[in-house]
Structures are given as structure tokens and as C-alpha cells.
Symmetry: C2
Subunit: 149 residues, 2 copies
Amino acid sequence: MLTKKAYYAFQALTHLVERYNEGPVLISEISEERKIPLKFLENILLHLKNTGILDSKKGKGGGYFLKAHPSETRIAKVFRLIDGPIAMLPCVSLYFYQRCENCNEKFCGLHDILVEVRDATLAIMENRTLADLVAKDRNPVAGLVPPKM
Amino acid sequence: MLTKKAYYAFQALTHLVERYNEGPVLISEISEERKIPLKFLENILLHLKNTGILDSKKGKGGGYFLKAHPSETRIAKVFRLIDGPIAMLPCVSLYFYQRCENCNEKFCGLHDILVEVRDATLAIMENRTLADLVAKDRNPVAGLVPPKM
DNA sequence: AAAAAGTCTACTCGTTTGGTAGGGTAGTTA
DNA sequence: TAACTACCCTACCAAACGAGTAGACTTTTT
């Protein structure tokens, strides 16, 4: 399951996608409209800034905004930044791999199954971006020129 | 990520699949060969018995054994029994559904993405059984007559 | 200078995870 | 009946994690 932290992160990002190209958005605005505890949200947004997803501006008229076009940030990346591994076992993870002590991957049926699950999950999460977070029938970024990828 | 409890459960079940049709297996045997703490394993096996996956026999020559043919127990079921929901949010879960407070599922892009992830995961976990836990090239139950399903 | 905003450190507090220790009970078999 | 084995219970523990909270600090704008 997603942690609340990740859930909040996605809510905040959804908000920022909807306000894309409207300049910096206040933490307090996101906090109130999305009902996310202010100080908790502060941490989350800062983290997303330090890892390159967001950028910010201080002082009056400041706030947070997306660093890149929504379609450039993959859901999988955000997930990994907040909640860590996507795979269900360390021995199946691409980014957080750790060998199994008690079992040999070559003969472990569970390993094979969880590799399949990982691949199926990644096939989706690596191909969805922040732009997909907003409802399709009122997607404000749908008409924007997609960036070169 | 899987909890250790679930990981141990799958290891124990793998062991019991390999010993299928050889009569009851001692907790202590599984504990030693799979390096699972004895008392912890006791709980896990008991739980799996109470939920209909395993059966047991007391006294000399007793132990645990699979209640049904390995190919009759789906991986998804075991997972849910030990670790709970497979979905990444309660509002996306089939067996543990809970409505989202802060978002409307109809307009929530995250919801749509996680439904896809859930379906892709279940497509695998509902179609793999305990029989798939043992390595293919030495699968001792491969030759057994599959039960009517 | 003053106000507006993000930045940063640290702390709290409850729950879950992953155990350990030890007992007594009740079926089963030899 | 004795030995064996699962069953079931209580209690305890340490560490990590989850979900925040508090307060001071820094930077930018007006």
C-alpha cells in the first residue's frame, strides 16, 4: 500500500499540474484545498524539490511549481522517491536490489512470479506521467505542446 | 514490499509443495531447513491452517500438510491472508475497499493508474498457484493429475 | 525595515514488525 | 501409559516506521 506521504505527494502534484504555467503555488493553498497537514506537506514538497521534481521561489509571490512539463515526470519516479522500492522483494528490485540469503533465485518460483508482477507494474508506472494525474475530460495540459523526449 | 511473515509463509509453503504426498511435515523440519524462527513459524502455519490452506495432524508422525492439491491454491489468496490488500490504495482494492475521503474516484487520475496496476498484478497472482513456487526443472507435482477445477 | 514565503533540524508519539520465552492443553501413536 | 506433536496462550521486547508537530532560520520582495 501507498503511505499517506506518497498519497499526499500525488495529491499535491495533481494540484500543481492543474496550476501548471500559472506561477508558484503556496504551500498553504495546497494544504487547505487538498486537506493535507501543512507542516507535513512542507516536508514532502521540500523533498520533491531536492530530488528535482519541483522548484520553488521564496518571498512574496513565491511558492512551489513543477520543474519540468508534467509529461516529463514519470509516476514510477515519484513513487520510488517517496516510498522506495516498487518490487515486492529486494531480490526482485531493479533500483534497490539485494540478494536473498535463504534462497537461490535460479530455483525460486516466488522470485519468478514477483519479477512478472514487477514488470507488469513498471510497464504501467513508467508509461504514466504527472499529466495523467488529472482527469481526462478536463485535462488542462492536454493541449500543451509536448516537450521533446 | 512483502513482510517477512509473508516471505516465510511462501518459503514454508514451497517446502510443503516439495513434500506433497509424503505425509505430514514437522514444524521443526521446516524451521531448520528454511531457517525460519520456530515460534514465528508456528504462528504462520497455524494461521494458514485456520484459513483453510493447510491441515495438520497431532502426535507422533504428525505435522503440517497442504489441504488441497498445490495447483488449487492461488498465490493471491495466500498474499491477502498474510499481508492484506494487494492494491496500493484502499479505494482501489477489491477485497478491502474503502472510499477515499478527499478525492472523487471519477476524476482521480491516480485512481485510474492504480486500478490498472492492480489488474495487472492480479492477472498474474490469481493465475499462479502454489505449484508454481517450485522450480520448473525439478517440479515434483508437474506430473500429478491436475484436480478438477 | 517588514512581511511573506520557503528551509531546516529536531522531536514526539503511536503502531507495526519481527521476533523471544515459556508455559499448559489436547489429540495420536506405539 | 509414555512419548510425541500440534495447539494455544500470555507476556515481553527492541527497532523501525508512519504520521505528524514545533520552532527557529533564511531568502526575497515591497
